[in-house]
Each structure stands twice: as C-alpha cells, then as structure tokens.
Amino acid sequence: MTDTPVDEMSFEQAMKELESVVNRLEHGDVALDDSIALYERGAALKARCEAKLKEAEEKVAKITLGADGAPTGTAPLDAG
C-alpha cells in the first residue's frame, strides 16, 4: 500500500491500489477487523476512480501566439 492519501492519488495509482485491495479481500485470509478496514479503503479507492473518470470533460483550445512566437493565451478551436 502506498502512503499517498486516496484523495491525492492519480487515477492509475488508485486503480492499482483498488486492484490489490480486491485481490487481498478475495484471497480471504485477512482478519475480520482488517478486512473491514480494507473494504472501506477499497470503497474510497473506487470512489476516487469514479471521480477521476467523471472528470472526462472535453475542452479544446488553440494557443495564440504573439509576434515573437511566444504564447499569449488561448482561443477556441474550430476544427470542423
């Protein structure tokens, strides 16, 4: 298990952690108290994964460039 708080995990971290939690629980040799804690952690990880997946939002912008070629900001892109 990593020390990173679940709320700060990347999707990939949370995903790997969730997989390992599920595997351990399914293996069935965890003490009851531990298995409850593990279950709660798994639930938190699943929520984190879902949250990251819900962030699926499309935002497309084009960088606008100044005369010197340095970026000045963004503009909506109409790619057609």
């Binding site: 939690v21 009851l32 699943k46 960088i63 340095a70």
Partner: protein, 513 residues
C-alpha cells in the same frame, strides 16, 4: 599619315569599368532566374553570415553565394557532396573579374540524394545518443492535458479530437504550426519547447503528454520533421512525446527521438488516453468484487460461527449428569451423618469406661516417689562435686615451681654483668681520651701565648694594668713593671731613664721583629 592613327576600326572602346558593367548587365539580364543542378563543394559561412559555396559537375565549377538574409530562408542547407538544384540569378563581382550564382533556394536533387542525406543525419544524431532507448519516458496512463503540435486546420487535428472524444474526453491544447515548408521545422521545435516551458498550474495548463502530428505527404512535404532542430527538441522534451507524422510507411527522424511513435494521428490519440467506458466497467467490476468479497468475509464467518455453535452441547445437557449425582449424594448425606454420630458415641462410651480417679492418684503417687528419691541424692552429690574441684586445684598449685623463675633470673643476671663492664670500660676510655685532648689543647694554647716568647728573652712592660709599647708612654708612666719569663719586677720612678731598659714590646705582634 598620322603615326598615331588608330586602326581602321569602328569598334567601340570601353573603359574596364564600362565593360565590367556591361557584362554585369548582360549576365543578370540573361540569367536573372536560373536553376542549376550540381554537387555542392566546399561550404563556408563567413562571420558576416553570408554563405559561400561551390557548385560543380565533372568539368566546371561555379562560385555561389547566399547572403545572410537568404541563408535563413533556404529550405535546405547545402552540405558538401550533396546533389542539389539551386535557384537564383547570376551576378558578377567586378573588382575581381568574377561571376557567381546568387542562390535563393536549394533543394536536394532527387529522392536518392535526399535519402542519402537523411541517412547521414540520422547516423550523426544517433551517435549523439539522441535516439537511445533509455532516454524514452513512459507515457502517462491518463493525462489531464494533452498538447497537440499540428496544423489547426485540416483532417489531422479533427481525427485526433474525434478519437480522444470517443475514448476519453480530455483538455486539449493545440499549438498551431506550419506542417510543411521552411517554417515547419522552427515552428514545431518552438512549439515543443514552448509546451515544456509551461509550468504546472500556470496560466496555461502544462500538458502531460505531447502529440506531434501531421498527415501523409511526399518526402519533401514531411521534410521539416527530419530537421535537426525538431529532432533535438523532441529528444530534449521533458514531457513524454508521441510522434505521428505521415502514414505508417513514412518514417521521419522525429520518430526516432520521440518517446512513442504512432503510425497515424488517430493512433496517437489512442496511445494517449485509455477508453473511459472500459475503465468505468473495470471500476464497476472491481466494486462488485469488493462488495462480494467484503460480504463474503462476514457471511463466511457467520457460517463458521453457526457451525461451531451447533456443535456446542446444550446447557441443560451439561447439567443433567451432575444434578443426578447431586440427588444421589444428598440421599446418602442424611444416612451418613447418622452413622457417623452412632460410631462416635460408641467410642465415647468405651473411653469413658476407663476414666477413674485411681488412675490419677496412682500417677501422682508415682511422681512423689520419684521426687523423694531425687532430693535424697542431692546433698551427697554436691559434697562429691566440691571434693573433686578441690582435688583439681591442689593438683594445679603443685605444678607452680619457683625453681624455673630463679633459673631465668640467674641467666639474665649473668648477661647483665658483661654489659655493665662494657659500659664502665667505655666510659673510662672516653674520659681518658678527653683528658689527653685537653692537655694537648692546653699545650697548644701555651705555645701560642705571649708567655712562651718571654722564654726567648722578650719582656712585657706594664704601667699598672696597661701595657707600655712606646717610649712616650714609658716616660709618662708613674711606675713600670717588667714581666720576664720567670716573674715580674717593679722599677721605681727614679731610675726612669735607665737606658738598659729593654724596649717594650707589644705582647703579640712583637714576635716578628
């Protein structure tokens, strides 16, 4: 006839500059825009930024020049040995009677030449380690922001955006660049560097992955992605970079420097993000497994608990045996007590039968008898003891003998006599020594005193107690007394001037004269 008459000729006479100018005009007029194919010879870039090089074939050489401003616009830089087609105009350099080709653009002559050059460049960059596998960075699993370097218009960006939307809609930042022509390479390199310069959380979100994409085209169209600055920028990128230039069969040098090569722009989008629906399914599945295994952890234990409790005997069963034993025992208890009392009473009766006063009086009489007997033996025993002690005392006193003491005294007296003698002897000897030393010292004293000088004929003259040492004193003296060795005489006042009077002598010092 004029000796200096010119030959009979109508030809115009030029000055050098005139003819030089005329040649210039002619050349520039005639060859104002030419394409020349040849091999590049030595290339020199002067400090001024102008580039001088030769174009040659097997028989001729033509000096070529590109001015500083033109050099930056060349679509290809000439390299020695390269077959090129140079476009430009002929011009002359009057001061040195030279003509040269002012080159405005250079293109490799034919695909073969281009490929040869590409191979050479690839080998050089590979030797620098720019394509090394260990430089490659892994692509992020799920990037938040995707930077796309491509043309803002056209199918490529559309394909990428469509595919991203299908798989996993993300934030996309498009950095518009020219994807062909001479502006392509510097703009692409600049875009890669620009994305890298963005700070995470800055005004513009820094991409987690960069896609450099371009649709298919001829080798010349794709050439910008072979340029060294693009390759270097891609290799230096801290952000993982996917290259997707041309079709699957087209390979440009950026593909070697990128962290991942995608065969098409659409494939690049697929490499960049996972499929959201699949992930949702996966998470759902994990959630189900989690719940199932969580529930199972409890149900399995419940099952086990009930199994175990079923195996446990009932509380009433546990008590049946003991309570029966209790019944039996409590039945026995009453009888047991009665029997016990009966037995004890029997014993008491037996014992009390023997309990009579005669038993006690007999014992007292017996004790009295023993007392009388002991007191009778007491007085004789004391007398006997005293007698014994007196005998012992007499025996001890008889063993004290004075003879032993006397012997010891005699022995010590004997040892005392010689010691006393040695003490006396020693004292006598010491006394005699001291006497002898005293006599000797006295003798010494006498020899050192003035009296001894008197023996040798000197005399001491005195007036009373005062010693006279001068005639003046003698004349003023009231009476003179002379001491000789054998005694003293006193002279009267009258024979004062007796010339025979010995010169008075100082008692001590006089002995020297």
């Amino acid at each position: 006839m004029d000796l200096f008459e010119e030959p009979n000729d109508n030809a115009h006479e030029f000055s050098v500059s005139e003819i030089s100018g005329a040649i210039k005009r002619t050349l520039e007029g005639e060859f104002g825009n030419v394409r020349v194919k040849g091999e590049v010879g030595r290339v020199v870039i002067a400090r001024t930024g102008h580039m001088y090089f030769d174009l040659k074939d097997d028989r001729s050489v033509i000096a070529s020049v590109s001015w500083k401003g033109q050099v930056s616009k060349l679509s290809h830089m000439p390299e020695e040995g390269m077959e090129v087609v140079a476009t430009g105009r002929l011009t002359t350099f009057g001061p040195q009677s030279k003509y040269q080709l002012n080159v405005e653009d250079i293109r490799p002559a034919g695909a073969g030449a281009l490929m040869a050059m590409l191979e050479k460049r690839k080998a050089a960059l590979a030797a620098e380690g720019l394509f090394a596998t260990e430089r490659k960075r892994p692509l992020p699993y799920l990037p938040e922001v995707i930077g796309v370097v491509t043309s803002p218009t056209g199918a490529v960006i559309r394909d990428i955006l469509h595919r991203l939307r299908d798989r996993f809609p993300r934030k996309v930042l498009v950095w518009p660049v020219a994807v062909q022509g001479k502006d392509c390479a510097p703009q692409v390199a600049h875009a890669i560097e620009g994305f890298n310069q963005m700070t995470p959380g800055g005004a513009l979100p820094r991409p987690d992955v960069i896609i450099v994409a371009r649709g298919g085209g001829s080798i010349e169209d794709l050439w910008g992605f072979n340029e060294e600055i693009v390759v270097r920028a891609a290799a230096a990128s801290q952000i993982p970079l996917i290259s997707a230039v041309g079709h699957e069969t087209d390979t440009t040098l950026i593909d070697y420097a990128s962290d991942m090569r995608a065969p098409t722009p659409t494939a690049a989008a697929e490499l960049a993000v996972p499929v959201r629906l699949e992930l949702l399914n996966w998470v759902e599945n994990q959630g189900m497994r989690l719940t199932r295994s969580g529930t199972q952890a409890v149900t399995l234990r419940q099952q086990r608990l009930s199994d175990l409790s079923r195996a446990m005997p009932k509380a009433t069963e546990l008590l049946e045996g003991p309570s029966q034993r209790l019944d039996i025992l409590s039945d026995k208890l009453d009888n047991a007590l009665r029997d016990f009392t009966r037995q004890k009473r029997l014993k008491l009766t037996e014992a009390s039968g023997h309990l009579r006063p005669s038993v006690l009086t007999n014992r007292i009489a017996e004790q009295n008898r023993r007392l009388d007997d002991r007191s009778a033996r007491l007085a004789p025993a004391l007398a006997r003891g005293t007698r014994q002690h007196r005998r012992d005392f007499t025996a001890l006193t008889s063993r004290i003998r004075p003879a032993a003491l006397k012997e010891k005294t005699a022995l010590l007296s004997e040892r005392l006599v010689p010691l006393a003698r040695r003490l006396t002897d020693h004292a006598n000897r010491d006394l005699a020594d001291r006497k002898a030393k005293l006599t000797a010292l006295d003798r010494l004293r006498l020899t050192l005193g003035y009296e001894s000088t008197l023996q040798r004929g000197y005399a001491v003259i005195r007036d009373g107690d005062k010693v006279i040492t001068t005639t003046k004193e003698a004349k003023s003296a009231s009476a003179l007394e002379i001491q000789f060795a054998d005694g003293r005489i006193t002279l009267d006042d009258t024979p004062k001037a007796a010339p025979k009077a010995k010169k008075p002598k100082p008692p001590e010092q006089g002995s020297l004269f």
